[in-house]
């Protein structure tokens, strides 16, 4: 029993760490898909860019870890605005199929570019010494970096919720998610709102990709390989919702970790089966605003 409880703590810990990363990366996708109805399969490109930026900044230019994280966020957010203005915005009313084709095209191109710039190996993450080692708690050791990762992601989540629930910008976003035409007709500049939200979502993906490069190694094929997981978080959580994907990400993280620990022979069965079950039970996702 003692042993079981002890392993349960470990499973929860690693599951939460994984879930947090999935959430920070995917939340932007949930909001942009809910807000703009844009099927952005290329969301993982932003996460990959964040991871590569972090690795380059720290490895090549000796930028301290916290600053490099900030850099990953800012640079990815700014770059995504450029893409949004130049390309994405042209397809807002084009329907799903051109969006799918366009974002697949972006994925293909980004894979080649990342390959050219960074080669075939995963981008290395060199943690500063203060993030290495373990912290002993309840008679078990927890890797320091993952503890920090959970706390830091938690803070981001809290800030995000505050922003959406309590600020004027948040109110506008919620209004636009509920009814875009109505929001526009009461004078909300939805174009600008889209742009800012897109930038924030992409920036968060960049941050998540950087922060999580320990859990999801960053390599040129990243956007394609991890797409399925990001999509599951969004679909299970529900489009346009903040809390839905959070619960979904945690559930996926914990379920994935638990299967690996107790039933490794099951592989990824459980995750996909659970996804199907949830979607059949609640087609709009756990907390979806719209289906």
């Amino acid at each position: 029993m003692q042993a079981f409880l002890s392993s349960l703590v470990s499973v929860l810990f690693h599951g939460v760490a994984y879930g947090m990363i999935l959430y920070v990366i995917s939340v932007g996708l949930s909001v942009t898909m809910g807000l703009m109805g844009f099927v952005n399969l290329a969301h993982g490109v932003f996460a990959m860019a964040g991871g590569l930026l972090l690795s380059t900044a720290m490895g090549r230019y000796g930028v301290p870890f916290p600053l490099a994280l900030l850099l990953a966020f800012v640079v990815v957010a700014v770059a995504s605005v450029v893409l949004e203005r130049l390309l994405y915005s042209k397809l807002y009313s084009a329907g799903e199929l051109p969006q799918v084709l366009f974002t697949m095209g972006l994925i293909f191109m980004s894979i080649a570019v990342a390959r050219y710039l960074y080669g075939t190996q995963a981008a290395p993450l060199f943690l500063p010494d203060y993030l290495k080692g373990q912290i002993p708690l309840f008679g078990r050791d927890f890797p320091t970096f993952r503890v920090v990762l959970i706390i830091f992601s938690g803070l981001i989540v809290a800030a995000l919720w505050f922003g959406v629930e309590r600020t004027r910008w948040g109110a506008m976003v919620r209004a636009a998610v509920d009814n875009r035409d109505m929001a526009q007709s009461v004078g909300i500049n939805t174009n600008r709102l889209f742009m800012l939200t897109f930038a924030l979502g992409s920036g968060l993906a960049g941050l998540g990709g950087a922060l999580g490069s320990d859990i999801l190694p960053v390599q040129s094929t990243y956007p394609l390989e991890n797409l399925v997981y990001f999509m599951i978080v969004v679909a299970v959580g529900g489009l346009g919702s903040l809390s839905g994907p959070f619960i979904a990400a945690l559930l996926i993280g914990i379920a994935d970790t638990a299967t690996k620990y107790w039933l490794p022979e099951l592989g990824a069965f459980l995750i996909y089966a659970a996804t199907i079950a949830v979607l059949l039970w609640r087609p709009q996702g756990l907390f979806g605003v719209r289906s």
Partner: protein, 323 residues
């Protein structure tokens, strides 16, 4: 966006519709060194055609269509390697039946949902089957795949040679038969009803059309055709690997269809041809960076030829006619 096509346009085979077949036959004689790629293109045309039925005519978006290709491919592989059944036509029928059967079962569930939910369900189902294929080592060979698939000579005469002559002609004939069937279906009242469902589901309900049942029928047919494509892939390459069940193939086929043009049969001919040749040529010149070129091609199509390549041709020919 989507081509209206269908019932209203009449069902007589036009002159232009003979063109693809002439090209395919000419290719056999003029490009004998490319028959392996040629067979691959024909197989993907068949696979894309099956997707066009459900996406183009019934409006169902799927990221899991690979599951039917994979089932067909593994059916042929398992029949040959594990059961010793090497008859090409038996394998074809079995692959089609298993594909269609699985299509009917999953379709019954998937078709009750729509949009993102539907997309994710198809994706998750395909992912589960990928895991099954990986885990059922004793049956599928797992990650090593099933090598050593044997196929008896066609009619006891034409052997599947490594140059690919038999394979090419065989794929072409199968494609022709399926095309003929699909075309008949699309131009039938059934096809008209599908177009109606795609354009305005609510109205079709109001008209008293059995929407769900019709969709299930077309989903099942589509899955069966994809299964046939899978069988052909196994027979012409004499092996099966897990990649036939992968998300990448499901994404590729979707891209090929949109690239060619959705909901017009011949989009499924143009898309795979352009995509696979572009991939093949680019990969020869730039084995590491070909995906940049392919991605760029997709962007060009999105921004300059919204209805796919055939949509662009429509626009141009309309302009020419005007002037």
């Amino acid at each position: 966006m989507m081509h209206s096509g269908g019932y209203a346009r009449g069902s007589r085979i036009g002159v232009l519709e003979i063109l693809p077949w002439l090209v395919a036959i000419a290719a056999f004689f003029l490009l004998p060194e490319y028959l392996s790629l040629g067979a691959r293109i024909l197989i993907f045309i068949l696979f894309t055609l099956s997707l066009d039925l459900i996406l183009g005519y019934a409006g169902i978006i799927t990221l899991g269509h690979s599951v039917f290709l994979g089932l067909g491919a593994y059916t042929a592989g398992i029949l040959s390697v594990k059961a010793g059944i090497h008859d090409p036509f038996l394998q074809l029928i079995a692959g089609a039946a298993i594909g269609a059967g699985f299509g009917a079962i999953t379709g019954a569930v998937v078709l009750r949902t729509k949009d993102l939910t539907q997309l994710m369900l198809t994706l998750a189902i395909a992912a589960i089957m990928m895991e099954v294929g990986n885990k059922a080592n004793w049956l599928t060979g797992g990650a090593d795949g099933l090598p050593g698939v044997q196929v008896n000579p066609l009619f006891g005469v034409f052997e599947f040679d490594f140059i690919g002559k038999t394979g090419y002609v065989y794929c072409l004939v199968v494609l022709f038969i399926v095309w003929f069937f699909v075309r008949r279906m699309v131009y039938s009242p059934f096809g008209a009803m599908l177009t109606g469902i795609r354009e305005n589901t609510a109205r079709m309900h109001a008209l008293g059309a059995p929407v769900y049942k019709r969709l299930l029928v077309v989903y099942t047919i589509s899955a069966g055709i994809a299964g046939i494509a899978g069988v052909l892939l196994t027979q012409t390459t004499q092996s099966v690997g897990l990649n036939v069940l992968s998300f990448e193939i499901a994404g590729d086929v979707l891209v090929m269809l949109i690239l060619g043009g959705v909901g017009r049969i011949y989009g499924a001919f143009v898309g795979p041809t352009v995509y696979l040749i572009a991939h093949d040529e680019l990969a020869k010149q730039f084995p590491e960076y070909w995906s940049f070129g392919v991605g760029f091609l997709l962007l060009i199509v999105v921004f300059f030829a919204r209805g796919g390549i055939l949509g662009l041709i429509d626009k141009i020919s309309a302009r020419v006619r005007k002037s």
